[in-house]
Symmetry: C2
């Protein structure tokens, strides 16, 4: 079975990766329509050797498609979702907290896709990278509380910040003045995540990590306190996590549990003192993890480190995996 | 009173800052002798407009000085400490855990300098930046447990890594091949701190943060679990800290307590969502802090963020402040 597919946000950092993945993974595309902002009108992008003209969203344009990927930000998702004729995979935060919309990392909670035949949301990138090494441990030992600090790459804010980081850094190294776009320099600098600050002192990104962790692990009792930080790294996020579990465990049990988790790569060379870095995870589908150690300052507590490509498992890959899983499930149910 | 001063490690990143601070702070220097490795023989450095020839360490060379700064790594400190005729301020980790050697941040525990008339150690840079916003809160509410993740700058590993980061990043941006010195790229990359990995899975740097926190706050019961990470930032360290206290407190009490701590700058603009970045703290004496918020996932728990210049309060400035405080104390006692 081949599908009519629409990609909304085709020229963005995530859109470009979805396009590449549809091709690379031989996604059953019959026709592909690509949508972008008006400034892209007249341009085209390449897919399977063909030139696809970039279109702008218009009433009715999404109505005949079997599958729509939204990756153009939450306001576009909210505005156009009702137009989609077929199944929607939304990469924005627009519907993640909607109880009727499954929030899915297929390796973790693919079963949730069945709760809604129309739409699924792909989670926040930092949450995904935290949860990939954690979900199996949660099943075994039950997460009680997480304290997490992130090291988030430029790509998380979009292609423009990735380019800005390169441009500004080059100007810095060449001692050229540079009118930076952020309210502070980004070259060789980092900053607390600048999403909206809440009354409680946490920023939106940190609240997303907590709420999405609860929804994906299906446990509203999980406590999570996050500090989100943007670092001068191009496209892979890292997280430093301190996790308290309800049940006791030994480090050996952790390693055994993580041995064969799909989409997860244990990356530790203790002899060489070598653990995952953003460079290692860049362009890779797997989330890399390591530095597992017992935090003896509290019972049943584990420290670990994880890194993943923000644009792949953190966004585009997860969206494509949701589409693959949902359509396959719907097809096999239709055959019954 | 003017002193004969020796500076061991004068050409290093910390040594260069000590030299600058002695001049800037009008430190009572009568004569200054500067020591470096043999490859610096024949060269000189400038101090108060005079050229000071670089010397190499030889038996007897430190015996007549009133004050010796050691900032050439712990093996040099261990080898030459016995040669020092006068007071020693050691910036290395060589003697920090020695119970007879005071480990001092003058704003916090200057009183400890009296325990040893011969030597004091200046703490680990990441520990210093964590403790500057914390010590007064500890006095008020008593720290129970700290979970901390660091964002450490290149300068912490020495001037060579700072230069390496710039060289490698420029090569990356110019698409030139670059034989990087670390076992992995550092341009737009970060990595778990590569100090010696312990049996327990923590690296030496993380254990230092715990042990030095206990020693400086004079409370061996404090629990601390650290994750230390090297980021592609030039010379200011950041820390993300989650701190559980024994006593209850309100956020208002925290802000009141931190209002007038010497050496500390509260840097928060909630309306503009603007908090300390390494850029803000670079070249500044103060440690910058902000993002104070209640972590309601555990009683009496506070999250905060702090940034400080690794080469200043994290190293050179603290060493010079120790010398100023110790010599002043010794002089006033001699007058009694």
């Amino acid at each position: 079975m081949l599908y009519e597919v629409c990609l909304v946000g085709a020229t963005g950092a995530v859109g470009a990766e979805i396009l590449r993945l549809l091709e690379e993974r031989n996604f059953p595309v019959k026709t592909l329509r690509c949508f972008a902002s008006p400034k892209s009108l007249g341009k085209s992008i390449s897919f399977r050797g063909e030139k696809i003209p970039l279109e702008i969203l218009k009433k009715g344009c999404l109505s005949t498609s079997r599958l729509v990927f939204f990756c153009a930000g939450s306001s576009i998702s909210k505005e156009w979702i009702a137009e989609a004729g077929g199944y929607v995979v939304d990469s924005s935060s627009a519907f993640r907290s909607d109880p009727s919309v499954p929030l899915v990392i297929p390796e973790i909670n693919a079963h949730a896709l069945k709760n809604n035949p129309k739409i699924a949301a792909s989670p926040n990138c930092a949450a995904t990278i935290l949860l990939m090494p954690l979900f199996k441990l949660h099943r075994l030992f039950q997460v009680k509380r997480i304290v997490v600090s992130t090291y988030q790459a430029a790509s998380g804010a979009g292609a423009w910040l990735l380019q800005e980081l390169k441009n500004e850094t080059l100007a810095h190294l060449e001692h050229r003045p540079y009118p930076h776009l952020l309210p502070f320099p980004y070259a060789f600098n980092l900053y607390p995540h600048n999403s909206k600050l809440q009354e409680n002192g946490y920023v939106e990104e940190e609240i997303k990590m907590r709420d999405e962790t609860r929804k994906i692990l299906e446990d509203e009792a999980i406590q999570l306190s996050a500090t989100c930080v943007r670092v001068p790294v191009l496209r892979a996020h890292s997280v430093s996590a301190n996790v308290e579990f309800k049940k006791p465990f030994a480090l050996k049990m952790v390693y055994e549990a993580l041995e064969d988790v799909p989409g997860l790569k244990l990356f530790e060379d203790r002899a060489q003192n070598r653990f995952p870095t953003p460079f290692d995870a860049t362009g890779k589908d797997d989330v890399f993890c390591g530095r597992f150690r017992i935090d003896s300052s509290r019972p049943n507590t584990l420290e670990f480190w994880a890194v993943g490509d923000q644009l792949l498992k953190g966004a585009a890959l997860n969206a494509v995996q949701i589409a693959e899983t949902a359509l396959e499930t719907q097809n096999s149910e239709a055959l019954l």
